[in-house]
């Protein structure tokens, strides 16, 4: 019998192996490199969002702000000739700074008040992007970026090159998130999610714990935004609109809140549905919406959550009957 740790290592190696080899086989499969890159980017965005929602129990409706700030910073800096690595770093820093400020203000309230405050703050950034036309080019957005290339000399011209770059960065970021969730701090997050009052009475400063989690969440969201620009070489106001905040919520709920890989599964299902359905029907959102309602009603733990719970239950039954 393999113990849990070996099992986990094997499954991570398997998934990584498949992802590394994907470009070789993607021509024969209905999942292109570009779509898989997009799934990785939105999976990371969802994982960052999940840190706040699933692990800390904080519902933000304004995560588009951090994603958008990361994206706009990368696009603007790269256009100005800043090396791509630095563009991404600036994107993360600015996104994090926004998270610090918004978190500090929004955590004065909780629940619905918190959610609405984050939504309102994110819309402020949306309108700034719409109205500051000399900088952002308004609704048209920033297009025609120079060919993507890393400063260290690696070109990111083709989608295969971009795919490997995104896989590398998302891999490292995911590992970072995993370490965070399994750290002593990660355990405090769960305590705050479960019972804020009790965590307070255990000696934890709940305000700063939630704030820290929110700041980490915004930093990783900003990174996802940076990668979005690397992938599509475009940045317009739609990524700061509240639809984006809704999208990341839907992706996270699809996969299962509080499940580490849930958002990646959610992004896979959602973007695959969008990609395939939009070929045949104009209003594909109708079907994803209906599917979302179905998930919420039938599988409230999300797709991955329900699968793992069923497997756990089965293993438990097998143990008790044996």
């Amino acid at each position: 019998m393999m113990n849990q740790k070996t099992k986990a290592i094997y499954s991570v190696c398997l998934v990584l192996g498949i992802l590394l080899l994907w470009p070789l086989i993607s021509n024969f499969l209905p999942l292109s490199n570009i779509l898989l890159s997009e799934i990785l980017v939105f999976g990371l965005f969802g994982a960052a969002f999940n840190l706040a929602l699933g692990y800390t129990g904080v519902l933000s409706l304004g995560h588009a702000a951090y994603f958008g700030i990361g994206a706009y910073t990368t696009a603007l800096c790269y256009n100005a000739g800043v090396p791509l690595e630095l563009c991404i770093l600036f994107g993360i820093l600015l996104g994090t700074a926004a998270g610090m400020l918004i978190g500090f203000l929004a955590f004065r309230g909780s629940g619905a008040y918190f959610a609405i405050t984050t939504l309102a703050m994110s819309m402020v950034f949306y309108y700034i992007a719409c109205l500051w036309i000399s900088l952002t080019n308004g609704h048209e957005g920033i297009t025609g970026l120079p060919k993507m290339e890393l400063f260290i000399g690696i070109p990111l011209h083709s989608f295969v090159q971009k795919y490997y770059f995104i896989l590398f960065v998302v891999g490292i970021a995911t590992y970072g998130l995993w370490r965070l969730i399994n750290s002593p701090f990660g355990k405090v997050l769960l305590a705050v999610r479960e019972n804020e009052q009790r965590a307070l009475t255990c000696g934890y400063n709940v305000f700063w714990v939630k704030w820290c989690s929110f700041v980490f969440s915004s930093a990783f969201s900003a990174l996802a935004g940076c990668l979005f620009v690397v992938l599509f070489e475009i940045c317009d106001t739609s990524i700061l609109y509240w639809h984006m905040s809704g999208l990341v919520l839907v992706i996270t709920l699809f996969g299962g809140t509080g499940r580490f890989m849930g958002p990646f599964v959610g992004a896979l299902v959602f973007l695959l549905m969008k990609d395939k359905l939009s070929l045949y029907v104009e209003h594909w959102e109708f079907f994803t919406g209906a599917f979302f309602v179905l998930i919420v009603l039938v599988l409230p733990m999300g797709i991955l959550g329900s699968i793992t719970e069923t497997l756990k239950l089965r293993a438990h039954k097998a143990k008790t009957t044996a």
Partner: protein, 251 residues
């Protein structure tokens, strides 16, 4: 260093909720090595007084001193770090975490809140402390069960365990026997008595038998005011206490 025989003290503490005065100019002292109970009819302000001591509420006026230090303005988490631990009247645990994690996360509180990278399981001292407390509250066997699946009585013990894990110097227990059978109450009484060897205890309780057997001292509150504070035997015979509260219960 001045040694304080009084560990927890209030001076003229008052709490108003709008026009209602829930706690009225209470002067109170808990000495080192003492097990004190607070009794009083429903609505006497016992839990409000507890909330003032633990920092969940701030007094409208008056002072609260812990080991001679004024903690009136200190939030609940800082008071906990100083050594004021409390349990709640309604069971208050982390339902979806395992029994072990419930205690472990509390045991960790004094050490590393903002440690983001290291693995939690590597802190052997924290884990060992959690196991030791699980043994003490008799839940070691159920350490991997989600706390929500424990029986009611076990959850009450777990709650005391969580509080103990924060290394309190004073333990505030809010009705530890509420909802328990007489047999279970007796066990809790033994347990609390045993705990009082290591830590000073202040408890709010309705079960008179429980209070009278284990307390060194009893304080009686009525309408937010202290009407008596004495040994259990004296309290039993105090006419004011009898008239307000104990008549049908003891006599």
């Amino acid at each position: 260093m001045v040694s304080h025989t009084v560990i927890l003290e209030t001076r003229n503490v008052t709490k108003d909720f709008g026009g209602l005065r829930a706690v009225n100019e209470v002067d109170f002292q808990l000495n080192r090595g003492e097990l004190m109970s607070i009794i009083g009819p429903n609505g006497a302000g016992k839990t409000t007084f507890f909330n003032l001591l633990s920092g969940h509420l701030r007094p409208s006026s008056g002072e609260i001193l812990f080991m001679g230090k004024n903690v009136r303005k200190m939030p609940a988490y800082e008071r906990c770090r100083l050594g004021i631990g409390r349990s709640f009247q309604l069971t208050n645990i982390f339902p979806d975490l395992t029994t072990f994690e419930n205690v472990r996360v509390a045991a960790q509180s004094r050490k590393r809140t903002f440690s983001f990278w290291s693995n939690w399981s590597k802190y052997k001292d924290v884990n060992e402390k959690a196991y030791e407390i699980l043994n003490r509250i008799g839940l070691y066997e159920k350490r991997d069960h989600p706390a929500s699946t424990l029986a009611y009585g076990e959850q009450r013990y777990l709650e005391i365990g969580i509080t103990l894990a924060t290394d309190p110097l004073v333990l505030l227990l809010d009705e530890p026997t509420s909802g328990m059978s007489p047999e279970e109450s007796r066990q809790v009484a033994d347990f609390v008595k045993e705990l009082s060897q290591d830590v000073d205890i202040l408890l709010v309780e309705h079960d008179m038998h429980f209070v009278m057997t284990i307390s060194d001292k009893v304080t009686c509150l009525e309408n937010g005011t202290v009407i008596a504070c004495d040994s259990p035997a004296e309290i039993r015979n105090n006419s004011r206490v009898q008239s307000c509260y104990l008549r049908e219960k003891i006599c």
